[in-house]
């Protein structure tokens, strides 16, 4: 069953149009990667999908409902968002950050109850951050912080999680840790995932399907081996690459070729 359907979507900032006539579907339990060069509209697409931006034309349908017609809080009970990096000025502790995820489920002035606490606790343990519970968020490492932010998103009890380059500030160890976590949530909890990734090889390893964006349009959509061909990558990124197979996962593996020799 299709969980989300994007229909002839156009959108951008003010009068400027960044996303031009984009249509695609995500099925329930899917793991979709969005890749593309800088300025191709990856983040804009995600912002349209998370209702930060309003579409200029076209629709986004979540489970048969146009998301523009949903109450914002009801929408946020179903869709959670994880940004690239979260700047937090005040030193909330990890527990308080995780509990923020309950806001869509609470009325104003309604205090969190036992059920909310147990959901937050569960998300922290799913993301292996329960031991950090009492630590101020500004004192944990970047990788731990990103996992706490994912825990906050999980506390919303979403059916769809959108992530905008969640690993771009992390070293390879932490990148793998975060993406393994997403994979596990996808498989065990049947959480549908849409993730913007910069790293083509990470996208290839983890995503079931990939959308390659170019200048606000879908250049190619499909499984990693269909999208990540050297022809596609060279046309869109204007860079010479060699595409091999990862010897262990048999997924495509993109090797850069430097111009100077």
């Amino acid at each position: 069953m299709d969980l989300l359907k994007v229909d002839n979507l156009c959108g951008g900032y003010g009068k400027e149009t960044v996303i031009r006539d984009v249509s695609f579907k995500i099925e329930e339990g899917g793991f979709l990667g969005i890749i593309g060069p800088n300025g191709s509209g990856k983040s804009t697409l995600l912002r349209l999908m998370s209702r930060v931006l309003i579409p200029q034309t076209g629709k986004i349908i979540l489970e048969d409902t146009d998301i523009a017609r949903m109450h914002l809080k009801d929408f946020c009970k179903k869709v959670a968002f994880v940004p690239q990096d979260t700047m937090i000025n005040f030193s909330f502790n990890v527990w308080e950050i995780a509990l923020l995820g309950r806001i869509p489920h609470l009325r104003r002035m309604q205090w969190e109850g036992r059920r909310d606490f147990s959901i937050a606790q569960n998300s922290l343990s799913l993301t292996d951050t329960l031991h950090l519970k009492d630590k101020p968020i500004d004192e944990v490492s970047a990788g731990e912080r990103q996992r706490v932010i994912i825990a906050k998103a999980l506390t919303q009890e979403p059916i769809l999680m959108l992530l905008d380059e969640p690993t771009s500030h992390l070293d390879i160890g932490h990148q793998i840790q975060v993406l393994n976590l997403l994979k596990r949530l996808n498989r065990q909890n049947n959480l549908t995932i849409v993730v913007v990734l910069h790293d083509l090889n990470l996208a290839s390893e983890y995503c079931q399907r990939i959308i390659l964006l170019n200048a606000g349009k879908i250049f190619k959509e499909g499984e990693p081996q269909e999208v990540l061909t050297y022809q596609n990558i060279e046309t869109v990124y204007k860079t010479v690459v060699v595409v091999n197979k990862n010897p262990i996962s048999f997924k495509p593996y993109v090797v850069l070729v430097s111009g100077e020799r």
Binding site: K73, F81, P83, F92, L100, G101, R108
Partner: protein
């Protein structure tokens, strides 16, 4: 220590401060004697003054908290949006025009509101109010209005203008119970309204877009809160003048004590600010009796070291 215990401790400090403030003054009168009929007038005046201190303190502190959260800037304070210079200019113009001093608070209030509208209009881009341009236009309008005010003071021969000093450094000397009741209501309702939004403030303090992702209509909430804080500060500035530092430092001080969660931060900082102002007022009345030192000077003298000590203790604990 549990948060409820911390708040109770702050409450005890407030009560002790109030009792001290009632008995201390240009003449010290023990509590038992104050209750005698011949001293009722003194008791009444002192209680009125304590009320002014509590209203001004908690209103400024809670406005500061709201602005620091929405602007995501630790240096934000209630006067950032031009309220203080607007109120000052309003008062100076009223004095120069020879308007009766009963209307001074009204003139100041109008000045404050007009300057906030000006700042808001300058910062507005379409239907959005970007945080950075709001801060910038606040600073620019403040500088421009203070410039006009100082210019008017320096070219005006009017003796009455010497009285404007208290305005610029604040005073709790205010003896109009009806107007005080009015401002008190505005501050109480405004503070409670901000408290209702404490969950939204928690979300907004981690980012505008992050708050949207939690189902919060960030732009609308920001506008509502700007309006409420403007009303609170304009009300306070029209009866007490500019009391600096409280709205900046009490939020930080209380955050160090009870943490950044607005559900506890807002009530705790009300108590903290009230106690702080009552204590400052005791110093302002008794340090150089019969002279009274402007309250804004005391808040700066006392606030800075208290804050630095607490910050150092907190760093040492880490």
């Amino acid at each position: 220590m549990k948060i409820s215990l911390k708040i109770s401790l702050l409450l005890i400090i407030l009560i002790v401060a109030i009792l001290l403030a009632i008995t201390k003054g240009s003449v010290d009168i023990p509590l038992a004697e104050l209750l005698l009929k011949e001293n009722w007038q003194v008791l009444y005046l002192r209680i009125l003054r304590i009320l002014v201190a509590i209203i001004a303190g908690s209103g400024l502190a809670v406005s500061g908290i709201a602005l620091q959260a929405i602007l995501r800037n630790p240096l934000a304070e209630p006067y950032l949006l031009g309220t203080s210079s607007g109120a000052g200019l309003g008062a100076v113009i009223a004095i120069i025009l020879g308007i009766s001093s009963i209307y001074l608070p009204l003139a100041a209030f109008l000045g404050a509101i007009l300057s906030i509208i000006l700042v808001y209009q300058l910062a507005k881009q379409g239907s959005r109010i970007p945080v950075q341009s709001l801060i910038l236009s606040g600073v620019i309008v403040s500088i421009a209005l203070s410039g006009i005010m100082v210019f008017l003071i320096s070219v005006s021969p009017n003796e009455a203008l010497h009285g404007i000093m208290w305005w610029l450094w604040g005073s709790l000397q205010f003896y109009d119970p009806k107007l005080l009741l009015l401002v008190g209501m505005v501050v109480a309702l405004g503070t409670f309204a901000i408290f209702i939004f404490s969950q939204d403030l928690n979300a907004i303090s981690i980012g505008d877009e992050e708050a949207i992702h939690l189902g919060i209509n960030t732009e609308t909430i920001k506008k509502i809160l700007f309006f409420i804080t403007s009303l609170i500060t304009a009300g306070i500035v029209s009866i007490c003048g500019v009391i600096g530092f409280v709205g900046l430092i009490i939020p930080h001080l209380t955050r160090l004590i009870v943490g950044p969660n607005h559900k506890t931060l807002i009530p705790a900082s009300c108590v903290c600010a009230a106690a702080f102002m009552v204590i400052c007022d005791i110093f302002s009345r008794t340090l150089f009796t019969p002279l009274e030192i402007p309250i804004g000077i005391i808040t700066a003298f006392l606030g800075a070291p208290v804050f630095i000590i607490l910050l150092k203790i907190k760093q040492a604990v880490k």
